[in-house]
């Protein structure tokens, strides 16, 4: 692992119209890490991911990715810089087939997975290639949303609640897939409500409340911090 973080965010503020949602978020992710953002509904976790991608109306602060400041960049420039985004609603296009959905994000650099690799990780997607993207089950749609950002060469992946609304057995499959993706050297920033799922995968957790980071917990600290987490997350 190199010394400089892959992504470092400082004093990140974001607004939707008049409402001020993020109040100075600061966090760092090193290459190869899996980091989660934990917090209650409305704490600003998803907005943090959207702000990194430039998908909020207004944002300020500093977002440095591999040494480049992205705070003034357009979403397409941020995507091209090497950040892959898997949105909360999964963002599967109903007017496109499964295969078209998978091949839609342009390749932005080397280091992406080959299509064969992706199909061996997600065998369902090969069989369903010609059907409409939204004809898939919820779990398959989630896998498609994950799979399509693996082949572009993006090395930092943002996942927004990949287990939302899925059956426990599917959640375990998704956990295994994200674990495999991490083993392949991708860096992952994960937003999750499902704490058990997140604790299986993550090296570190940032606890977010009211648009601010209130605590940072490493995997080793989890047992001793269990009590605080339960109170703060209400789990």
């Amino acid at each position: 692992m190199s010394d400089a973080p892959m992504l470092s965010i400082a004093d990140l503020n974001a607004w939707y119209d008049e409402s001020h949602v993020l109040h100075g978020i600061g966090l760092e992710i090193r290459e190869g890490e899996c980091v989660t953002l934990l917090g209650r509904n409305g704490a600003g976790k998803s907005t943090t991911l959207k702000s990194i991608m430039g998908l909020v109306p207004r944002r300020a602060g500093s977002i440095r990715f591999q040494g480049i400041d992205l705070i003034a960049a357009r979403p397409d420039q941020i995507g091209r810089a090497g950040i892959g985004f898997c949105p909360e609603d999964r963002g599967i296009f109903s007017g496109l087939t499964v295969e078209e959905n998978l091949l839609l994000p342009p390749v932005i650099g080397p280091g992406g997975m080959s299509l064969d690799d992706i199909y061996s990780l997600f065998p369902n997607l090969r069989e369903r290639g010609k059907s409409a993207g939204t004809k898939l089950s919820g779990g398959e749609q989630q896998m498609l949303a994950i799979a399509r950002i693996l082949r572009t060469g993006a090395r930092l992946l943002l996942f927004d609640e990949p287990t939302e609304g899925l059956a426990p057995v599917i959640v375990q499959q998704i956990a295994a897939m994200i674990g495999e993706i991490k083993r392949r050297g991708f860096t992952i920033l994960l937003v999750e409500q499902n704490f058990r799922f997140a604790s299986q995968l993550a090296d570190r957790h940032y606890l977010i409340e009211h648009g601010q980071v209130v605590d940072m917990i490493t995997r080793d600290q989890l047992p001793e911090k269990q009590e605080t987490l339960h109170q703060r997350l209400g789990i």
Binding site: R74, R80, F93, L96, E100, P106, T152
Partner: protein
């Protein structure tokens, strides 16, 4: 004389041909409108005026520069598309964050300005443009006489519509367009320059109107109002086919042209309203249009 449904066969076939010719232009124009509406959510009222500009550019290329029909098929659409690019970058893009009515009013105003400028420059009676020698004359099909140029227009319209359908539905560029129609911000986050895609789509859509204008020049009188005469029907075609549906625009365009042609034979007074009667029936029974997805 052979009779079909109590009408002389030559009359019937003649009107059928006219219907298919009109349908060709409905299809080509509604195609561009549907593509533009799908991605930009702009109801482009300037579409007919840009069709007219395409016809005038064709005439001007020959009249002033001596460039004939065949090169004009390529040059005139490029000129109209460039004009479209300027209109999108200079004007229309400022309406995206506003209510859809602003884009409609802006393009409606643009249409009036363009028609006014051409009326001022060339008068309202129009100018004449001849079909190229290769396509002049008539062939005897046995059951009717077919002017060669009209046959060419139908052939060209089918080729153009099929090509555009193929690009939108079967290519990577088309997949990007369809995806950006659904969720532009996600497509942009994937690294696609969506504002540029939108500008080029508008240029491409009005370029199609320009191309239709070239094909129309030898057929109709090239005059400043030739676009507004067609555009009402073309909007009805887009609505009947389903807003934003490419295949729907093509099939409805040809279909309505034919229906209009037959109405001309059997009950001429209804021929100018039949399209709108069909539109009313379709909207009552299928509000999203024949080929549209429910909104």
């Amino acid at each position: 004389m052979m009779m079909i449904f109590g009408k002389p066969a030559p009359l019937l076939f003649g009107q059928l041909l006219l219907g298919i010719i009109n349908g060709s232009f409905y299809a080509m124009l509604s195609l561009g409108l549907a593509i533009i509406f799908g991605l930009l959510r702009v109801i482009n009222f300037a579409h007919g005026a840009l069709f007219m500009v395409g016809a005038f550019v064709t005439w001007g290329l020959f009249h002033y520069v001596g460039i004939g029909f065949w090169p004009a098929l390529l040059i005139a659409p490029v000129i109209v598309a460039s004009l479209g690019l300027g209109i999108e970058r200079g004007l229309i893009r400022f309406t995206y964050k506003l209510d859809i009515l602003y884009g409609l009013l802006l393009t409606f105003g643009l249409a009036l300005v363009l028609e006014g400028l051409f009326t001022n420059g060339f008068g309202s009676s129009g100018v004449a443009y001849n079909a190229p020698d290769l396509l002049s004359g008539v062939v005897n099909l046995g059951f009717m006489f077919l002017p060669v140029y009209r046959g060419f227009v139908i052939f060209a319209a089918i080729v153009i519509c099929t090509a555009v359908w193929f690009i939108i539905e079967k290519t990577r560029l088309g997949a990007l367009l369809r995806a950006a129609t659904e969720n532009p911000s996600l497509v942009q986050a994937f690294g696609v320059n969506v504002p540029r895609l939108i500008a080029l789509t508008f240029a491409g859509g009005v370029g199609l109107a320009g191309l239709a204008g070239v094909l129309a020049a030898p057929l109709y009188s090239v005059n400043p109002n030739m676009g507004s005469a067609l555009i009402d029907t073309v909007f009805a075609v887009v609505v009947i086919g389903g807003m934003g549906s490419i295949g729907g625009a093509i099939l409805t365009g040809f279909g309505l042209g034919i229906i209009q042609g037959f109405t001309e034979v059997f009950y001429p007074p209804a021929s100018s309203v039949v399209v709108f009667a069909v539109m009313a029936i379709v909207l009552l029974t299928r509000p999203a249009g024949l080929f549209g997805k429910a909104a």
